[in-house]
């Protein structure tokens, strides 16, 4: 059990470290967002479908969490790594799984509630890296004074620092979390009545997303579009 947990933690920590560089340090093409990161982590752990469900739910929940000014938002990649890690590990550990979709829905609320406080550690690690980066500024300045070409090199050291600190933070949190999940979930059968908790997560997600793009005129569009889409889906269902 320890070997498997160690292997999984190492794999998802390195993958999470690479993906999380995209949050701030490099590219920013949004592969660090939950809708991309969670399916990737799920795939690496052998269950991409569960990762996709986690990714869609977390994306909804975190649409409105914006990195504005000095505010450092929730570490969405960290949360994706942890929630996907717990969900996939739990599904693997539980006996008599009835199918990926249903069971991922059942485990996800537990994984989310357990991961939110742990992911604060990733936020702290991010702050630590930003403090650490000051030294690269001094290094670049010294390089220029010496007539060298060290500006770009010093800048890229920042990317390496973000990767190293994030990977270490992911490993430090993923290993205990995965070990506990492996030990706990064979004894827990996620009940079908856990579905309302998943429904609660989704409703909070839609409301958070709604608030992020809210306007009074838009509220009418939201409702009209919802009902029109429902009519279209019903019509298509009756047609087929």
């Amino acid at each position: 059990m320890l070997t498997e947990a160690l292997r999984d933690s190492l794999v998802i920590s390195i993958a999470g470290g690479v993906l999380s560089v995209d949050r701030t340090a490099a590219l920013q093409v949004m592969v660090s967002r939950p809708i991309v990161a969670a399916p990737v982590i799920g795939y690496l752990l052998g269950n991409a479908a569960a990762g996709l469900i986690v990714g869609v739910t977390l994306e909804l929940l975190l649409i409105g969490d914006l990195p504005v000014g000095r505010y450092i938002p929730v570490h969405e990649t960290g949360l994706s790594v942890l929630v996907t890690g717990i969900t996939v590990t739990a599904l693997g550990a539980m006996e008599g799984a009835r199918g990926v979709l249903t069971d991922a829905l059942l485990v996800l609320p537990l994984a989310l509630v357990a991961s939110i406080p742990v992911s604060r550690f990733h936020q702290k690690a991010d702050e630590f890296t930003r403090r650490l980066n000051s030294r690269f500024f001094k290094e670049a300045l010294a390089g220029i004074e010496a007539g060298g070409e060290g500006v770009m090199k010093a800048n890229l050291k920042g990317t390496a620092a973000f990767f190293a600190v994030n990977t270490a933070a992911f490993f430090a949190t993923a290993l205990p979390v995965l070990l506990v999940s492996r030990a706990l979930f064979p004894r827990v059968q996620a009940a079908a009545l856990m579905l309302p908790a998943f429904g609660g997560c989704v409703l909070i997600g839609i409301s958070a997303a709604l608030y992020a793009v809210y306007s009074e005129k838009g509220l009418l569009i939201f409702s009209a579009s919802g009902l029109a889409s429902a009519f279209i889906l019903v019509w298509l269902a009756l047609l087929w």
Binding site: G200, A208, Y214
Partner: protein, 256 residues
């Protein structure tokens, strides 16, 4: 004139503008690193050192909005070398523009384009599974990459005039439009979620019962989501709301 190769290196460097983000200088080092290929072509010896140190100063704006600023700063450095602009013209321009460009970029890219791309991605995932992440990346990066490249190109061509050029894009107006589209997509997501919930909870339902269930479920999702969004207006965070609503539901599910 700066060569095309140097401009392309600056374009690549713009993707690393936040690499060494720090609380003291924010993107200062990233900006100096990104502009350094152009500086190396424009200045030699002590003047190059001075130019690089100039650009190491405090700088913070939205990372994608750095591209027009980089382009304009290169043009101003060229003019400084020709003697038609002051040596610190580029730095003054950066200081003047970083505040507004930070605000515009945050509101347009973080506040509008990303939610829009997320809504497209989520809806695509609900309807077509793994196409969701691909749709999300395609929608988001079409705006993102266009801004990076076009911003740098126009910044270099127009110098300080790039400010007026970007003003003509009317980004705040597009933000409002994107919000409306995102809300329409969220409505469609609510219906798609209701569809999936109904198929999961009542798989055999057909005909008028299915139609009534679908419309009822969608109306409930719309009403609950609108009601819950009021909590965010009062300063509630997502994490707190998860604990207030989801934890009791988990306990209920476990005990019942």
């Amino acid at each position: 004139m700066v060569t095309k190769s140097a401009l392309f290196k600056v374009f690549l460097g713009s993707f690393f503008i936040q690499s060494a983000w720090s609380f003291e200088k924010m993107q200062g080092l990233g900006f100096a690193a990104a502009i350094s290929p152009a500086i190396k072509e424009l200045w030699q010896g002590e003047k190059r050192k001075e130019a690089l140190k100039r650009h190491l100063a405090f700088y913070n704006a939205h990372p994608y909005m750095a591209s027009p600023v980089l382009g304009a700063a290169i043009r101003l450095e060229e003019r400084a070398r020709e003697g038609t602009a002051a040596a610190d013209a580029a730095v003054s321009f950066k200081k003047k523009i970083m505040g507004p460009y930070g605000a515009i970029g945050d509101s347009f890219f973080w506040g509008s384009v990303r939610p829009l791309a997320s809504c497209f991605g989520i809806l695509a995932a609900l309807l077509w599974g793994f196409w969701g992440p691909i749709v999300f990346l395609a929608v988001y990066n079409s705006f993102h990459l266009w801004m990076r490249w076009q911003g740098l190109r126009k910044g270099y061509a127009l110098g300080e005039g790039v400010v007026n050029y970007i003003r003509e894009w009317e980004l705040p107006r597009w933000s409002r439009r994107f919000h409306l589209i995102a809300m329409a997509l969220l409505g469609a997501c609510s219906a798609a979620l209701s569809w999936n919930a109904l198929r999961l909870l009542a798989p055999g339902t057909e005909g008028r019962y299915f139609a009534a269930g679908m419309l009822g479920a969608t109306l409930l999702v719309i009403a609950f989501a609108t009601f819950l969004s009021l909590f965010f207006k009062k300063g509630m965070t997502v994490s707190r709301l998860v604990y207030i609503i989801v934890v009791p539901l988990i306990v209920f599910g476990a005990v019942y």
